[in-house]
Amino acid sequence: QETVKLGYIDPLSGGGASVGEVGLKHFQWLAEQVNARGGLNGKKLEVLAFDSKTNPQEAVIQAQKAIDAGARIITQGNASSVAAALSDFVTKYNERNPGKEVLYFNYAAIDDSLTNDKCSYWHFRWDASASVKMAAISNYLKNRPEVKKVYLINQDYSFGQSFRKLAAEMLKAKRPDIQIVGDELHPLLKVTDFSPYIAKIKASGADTVITGNWGQDIALLLKAGADAGLQSNWYTIYAGGVGGPTAIKQSGLADKVHDIVENDPNTAPEAAQAAESEFRKRFGASLWYPRAVNEIRFLESAVKETGSVDPKAIAQKLEGMTGGTFTGGKGAMRKDDHQFFQDMYLRSFGPLKPGQKFDEEGTGWGWTSKGKIAANDTIVPTTCEMERP
Amino acid sequence: MSALLDVQDLHAYYGKSHILHGVNFHINAGEIVSLLGRNGVGRSTTIKAIMGDVPPVGVVRFAGRDIAGMKPHQIARLGLGYVPENRDVFPSLTVRQNLLLGQKSARQAGRWSMQDMFRIFPRLEERADTPAGVMSGGEQQMLTICRTLMGDPDLVMIDEPTEGLAPMMVELVGNLLAEIASRGVAILLVEQKLTIALKISHRLYVMGHGRIVFEGSVADFNANASVRQEWLEV
């Protein structure tokens, strides 16, 4: 019985490995469920893992290998630099190999350009774009007068740069009084000791740090902050990643570290919470990527509705497709730029409150939702002019 | 009394080529013995085989112990000293450091002190802190001899010590050998130039075709000229 192969291309070694490994677990777990439900229109869904080493060129080589191995859908998330390369690769590949088209599902690389100037018909993004997340953060900051001096620190690559730009712009627009006392870019996944940067943040007298750092870069940043006793507010996207919660607990930053994601396990509906517990029990990690769940769900129904696993058909179907998301809300894949929109949650991290089920990394601390942003309120315009086959 | 060094039916090979075909000889304590022979007959090889630098086949006893098959450093520690023919000084080390390495353990007082060496070859003292590598050919030769003596051996095997030495120096080395012997150290001398060999040796061996072909005192040697022209001259 033939199978549908999903090529998973993400860092499985190097500084990004911790993130990539967990991502892989997600998709393997999801594939099992799909197959338990009878697979994609009778065919088994099989996940093939490839190590991108967080490197665009390597990722392209791996993508070629994935395709050679029979994958017609590839999925990737770390990081935007890689995503850009893959999107470009897939586009070229499809135009050169008509009839052998390949789909690219991006579950986490959130640099806006991927759904704007660099947008591609074959690329579908299931995570909210950087601008969406920054918009949410800046809106939240609107009514937080205590935030006066903000320090921006980001990774020196496409996503880090655009996130930093977005932050500057949106804060200017929504909180002109906020003063940006520092704006740092550091090498991607190469820094082992952030103390020098922390020293700088302290010296700047910032009361708030905004960062898009991920993988070891957020964990180490928080850790160094803890060591130096940095007592500022944090607005992040990936503080929930490996090592993050531990570091936050260490520095005793109760309810001062925030992140913005598409789920809040402690208020999520039954089904979601059940899945969460199962995942945690099985893999010893939190279910970070509900977007991955959405991705596979939509794939599944697209296949069901078209009755075929042909990428071309699936792509057509997905355009503008709507459906229920992991967290019970409504989700939609916008036709113009293949950006997925879903409810988002701005959360903060602190000691478990009564009734909260899930803590992180055994710290006894967990996430609390500070506000839900409905899918409709997250919609941002796009400049994408997509060439459709 | 039993010999200090006793070699019986010693064979040695370089890869496939069979160099020594059963060498037999012995050296008593405090004795100066010369090993003569044409180039390439295997004198150096004999010494190397004794030192374990070339795998020896046969019996090699030193101070009553069978040392065939031991590692060179073990053999050296038993009190066997070796002065190679191709002046193996340690080029990057200074003269003094070379001499220091001669000693087997950092603090060991033997028959020879660095002062003795400097007394015998003042030249070495002058150059004590220059890298041995840049020393003149002759100086290197002196250094190698002294370095070995610093290890306080009971028997030194010296391979062509006068090679590249000026005539005056040759005499100096002659005297040194005498002094060495006078301190009760036995000597196995390999030489091209018969002059000093005949002057200082108690006994002589002549090698030919990888064997010992003559054994005797200097007198015996001088007595029978045939050995000389058959085995030494060309």
């Binding site: - | 044409r38 180039n39 390439g40 023919e85 191709n86 030249r123 002058e126 150059r127 220059t130 840049v134 020393m135 003149s136 050919g137 002759g138 100086e139 030769q141 002196m142 062509e160 090679e163 590249g164 030495l165 000026a166 005539p167 005056m168 120096m169 040759v170 005499e171 091209q192 002059t195 001259e233 060309v234």
Partner: protein, 250 residues
């Protein structure tokens, strides 16, 4: 016509110690000139200074009337001076033949050419063969030089030195460590190759020195104490006292 080599008040010190202390020497064209002297007198150092391996601290060195003080070894070599080394100094991994062929390339004007094949260079190959013949290593033609027996390596050392056809040749203890037989061959070879050239040679074997040299200079403590014909040198008491000692030259 100016001498093949002239040193004027040349000095060389290493750190505090002065090794060559105001050395003056003149070697006429076409003569076989031997330099003798105690160990450490500075003979090799003098060679190094002339051939450019070391830079003189002061003084002038002339080659065929041309000032070569401070030039790099290869520049001096290109001006027609070639030297051998006391401690054998050849290309161990290259075959005997390659050693010789490399030695002739420059003098035949092939410089750094990377657009022509060595095997097609008729003159270079002929010259190499010729020298190979001369030093009697034809049998070992393709052996890597490193595995040759000591005496053969010395022969090759000389071969590499003369292959380029330089007209001033300097040999540092060419026969050291050779047996009598080998020494005789070497002497013959040296005599042959130095025909019509200038030869400067350091030697401790008095047989060789007095057999070959037209003139002999005695270098003691960095100075030439005598420079004269063999007879005169042999007679010279200072030399006997400083160098020859008792041993009468053969």
């Amino acid at each position: 016509m100016n001498p093949a080599i002239a040193l004027r008040d040349v000095r060389k010190s290493f750190g505090p110690t002065e090794i060559i202390r105001g050395l003056n020497l003149t070697v006429n064209r076409g003569e076989r000139h031997a330099v003798i002297g105690p160990n450490g007198a500075g003979k090799s150092t003098m060679f190094h200074l002339i051939s450019g391996r070391l830079q003189a601290s002061s003084g002038v060195i002339e080659l065929k009337g041309e000032d070569i003080t401070g030039l790099r070894p290869y520049e001096i070599n290109r001006r027609g001076l070639s030297r051998s080394f006391q401690i054998t100094n050849i290309f161990p991994k290259l075959s005997v033949y390659e050693n010789l062929r490399c030695a002739v390339l420059w003098s035949l004007g092939y410089r750094y050419a990377f657009w022509r094949f060595v095997d097609r260079l008729k003159d270079a190959n002929e010259r190499a063969e010729e020298v190979l013949e001369m030093i009697g290593l034809t049998a070992r033609r393709d052996t890597p030089a490193g595995v040759l027996a000591y005496a053969d390596q010395r022969a090759l050392e000389i071969g590499v030195t003369i292959a380029g056809g330089a007209d001033v040749i300097m040999l540092d203890e060419p026969t050291a460590g050779m047996s009598h037989a080998e020494t005789e061959q070497a002497v013959a070879l040296i005599r042959k190759v130095s025909e019509g050239r200038t030869l400067i040679m350091v030697e401790h074997d008095m047989g060789v020195v007095f057999g070959l040299a037209d003139r002999i200079s005695v270098l003691v403590y960095g100075q030439i104490i005598a420079s004269d014909t063999p007879q005169a040198i042999r007679a010279n008491p200072a030399v006997r006292e400083a160098y020859l000692g008792e041993e009468a030259p053969a």
